[in-house]
């Protein structure tokens, strides 16, 4: 931690620097906020008004475009698809990931490092580059156009980083805790479930955010595997929508607001957790 940079008692040169930095930060905050604000305002305007007065506020709060997009254009369904696919994927990422982390961090055996490295290699390998064999594999299994195809890939996407982060936390738990439980008659599963998992609960929250955000946002794999509108998640639904209604600005801004606002609201309430979670892989 370094000393605070404040105007009080600063030399003239430093004062100029501080003011410059403030101006830069304020400008940048505006560059982030204004496009989002304009997006929300535009969703209440008609296409005509958006094009004629792009900076004007809406005359009245007209929610009709929301009803059109959410109900008639199927965004309610896309949203629901994103929710359940992300939830199911995350349940398995957390279950399989924490089990594997337990398996590589709480036992000593010959193949341990090899198994650990095998999991870690998944962090570096770009999964998109393997789309051709993945497609053939899913086709052979009959999973194309079924949600299970992307859910399996999402689970594989989340596992390496989950195992990496969780095993780091599990290594720091003292063995004595485990011995005590064993004397009380716990088997390995009970130790994992009743001793280790409660202790690493904060790390679980971390990896949940770290993986749920990219899964929620993923577009590439649904694009390849899910043609059926019944199963499209939000990013893919948004893409098709942009292809179909590319000149109806009012509906486009409404669709974007529906895609972006829920994440923004969630962030306002849990900013600290999101920042910690998303940077978990890069910050020791």
């Amino acid at each position: 931690m370094i000393s605070d940079l404040r105007l009080k008692n600063a030399t003239p040169g430093k004062k100029i620097l501080i003011i410059f930095v403030q101006v830069a930060f304020i400008c940048y905050s505006l560059i982030i906020f204004y496009p989002l604000f304009n997006m929300i305002m535009s969703s209440f305007k008609s296409t005509r008004d958006i094009l004629r007065f792009p900076f004007a506020l809406p005359q009245k709060l007209d929610f009709s475009s929301y009803k059109t997009v959410w109900v008639d254009r199927g965004f309610g369904r896309f949203f629901f698809n994103s929710v359940w696919m992300t939830t199911v994927s995350m349940i398995f990422v957390l279950l399989f990931g924490s089990m594997a982390a337990y398996g590589v961090s709480r036992y000593v055996y010959r193949m341990r490092t090899a198994v650990y490295m095998l999991f870690l290699s998944g962090i570096m390998l770009p999964l998109k580059a393997a789309i051709i064999p993945l497609f053939m594999l899913m086709k052979k299994l009959g999973f194309v156009d079924k949600p299970i195809s992307v859910i399996l890939i999402f689970i594989a996407m989340g596992l390496p980083s989950t195992i990496f982060i969780l095993s780091g936390f599990m290594k720091t738990i003292p063995k004595d805790l485990e011995y005590a439980a064993r004397i009380d008659g716990c088997n390995d599963w009970m130790i994992y479930r009743k001793v280790i998992m409660p202790v690493i609960a904060p790390a679980i929250a971390l990896v949940t955010i770290y993986n749920a955000v990219p899964i929620w946002n993923d577009f590439f794999f649904p694009l390849v595997f899910l043609q059926n509108p019944k199963y499209k998640p939000l990013p893919l639904g948004l893409t098709n929508f942009f292809g179909q209604y590319s000149t109806d600005w009012s509906l486009l801004f409404t669709a974007l607001t529906i895609a972006i606002l829920p994440v923004l609201i969630l962030y306002i309430f849990m900013a600290k957790n999101f920042i910690k979670g998303m940077t978990a892989g890069a910050v020791k």
Binding site: I2, L95, V104, I132, I275
Partner: protein, 303 residues
């Protein structure tokens, strides 16, 4: 049953579900890509073993050659501009946030907002703003700079830059907060020693802070390499799958997709060429990551 066998069974029980998923979805396709790239293909049916012929085609035969090197050049551009603007900018933002300038907690939260949004939503939002009759040109007219208005995504010479800047808008919060965390972790006694010696802020930054946060610089560099090689959604949403206008925004990711699912040469999927490009992506990712780890790792300072 003795104790060792029991333990072995428990280990297997804990690691096999994850191992099975990682093996089938990540490792097997990697080897299949390598294998497939060595064969000629007729649609989805494997034909003859042809060695490195697919790779030769990508590097030396039209139309693949032009498309491939054009795309690779753009990926290089993505990497360089992202390093120079996003990561250097992120380092400065992280540094000033660590000096706890007025309202730093607020700025910290604000800068991170777009990091959570999907690339698709951000891409489409900005594609609307960057249209000729969109918000960006409207703003330039209002502030009296109408000569600066452009077809931001329609002009071959600037389309790639526009898309890179949108991506920086989305992602700069990430390196900023990684660097902030790293600078906050620099031990206080190192900094105090420097101040007692009368070092200026600038000297402290370059001679004390920078060498001590090399591990974070390394991670951000590797992530930038991987990110630059995997650019796809940004182009798909803002320029289309063909990297319009006239392939000027094409990247390896979009080229790879077009090859795999149809349309560079004949309009049909070309599994052989596609797999070869997939293997090249793997190799580039691997080589670039190793190179930066070796290169920057040497500069790392032990306390």
């Amino acid at each position: 049953m003795n104790k060792r066998t029991a333990e072995r069974r428990w280990i297997l029980f804990f690691i096999s579900p994850a191992l099975a998923v990682v093996f089938v979805i990540i490792l097997l396709p990697l080897f299949m890509s390598l294998f497939n790239s060595l064969f000629s293909w007729k649609q989805l049916i494997r034909q003859d073993f042809i060695g490195l012929e697919n790779f030769r085609k990508v590097f030396f035969t039209e139309p693949y050659k032009t498309r491939f090197f054009n795309a690779l050049k753009n990926n290089g551009l993505w990497f360089i501009i992202t390093m120079l603007i996003q990561n250097v900018g992120g380092l400065l933002i992280g540094y000033f946030l660590s000096r706890r300038v007025w309202a730093h907690e607020f700025y910290k939260r604000v800068i991170f907002i777009p990091v959570l949004f999907s690339i698709v939503a951000v891409g489409f939002l900005w594609s609307l703003y960057l249209r000729p009759n969109g918000l960006v040109n409207g703003f330039l007219k209002i502030v009296g700079l109408p000569q600066l208005t452009r077809a931001w995504l329609g002009d071959e010479s600037i389309a790639t830059f526009s898309i890179i800047f949108v991506n920086i808008w989305r992602w700069i919060g990430f390196p900023s907060l990684v660097f902030l965390a790293a600078i906050d972790n620099v031990p206080m006694d190192c900094l105090e020693a420097a101040w007692l010696d009368g070092a200026t802020d600038r000297r402290v930054f370059f001679k004390v802070i920078l060498p001590l946060i090399v591990p974070s610089i390394l991670i951000i560099t590797v992530l930038t390499i991987i990110g630059s090689l995997n650019v796809f959604e940004q182009i798909y949403t803002m320029a289309g799958l063909d990297g319009a206008p006239n392939f000027s925004t094409d990247t390896i990711g979009t080229l790879f997709y077009r090859t795999a699912f149809g349309s560079v040469d004949s309009g049909n999927p070309e599994i052989g060429i596609g797999s070869a490009i997939g293997v090249i992506i793997y190799l580039l990712t691997f080589l670039a990551s190793v190179a930066s780890i070796v290169g920057l790792g040497k500069k790392e300072v032990e306390l």
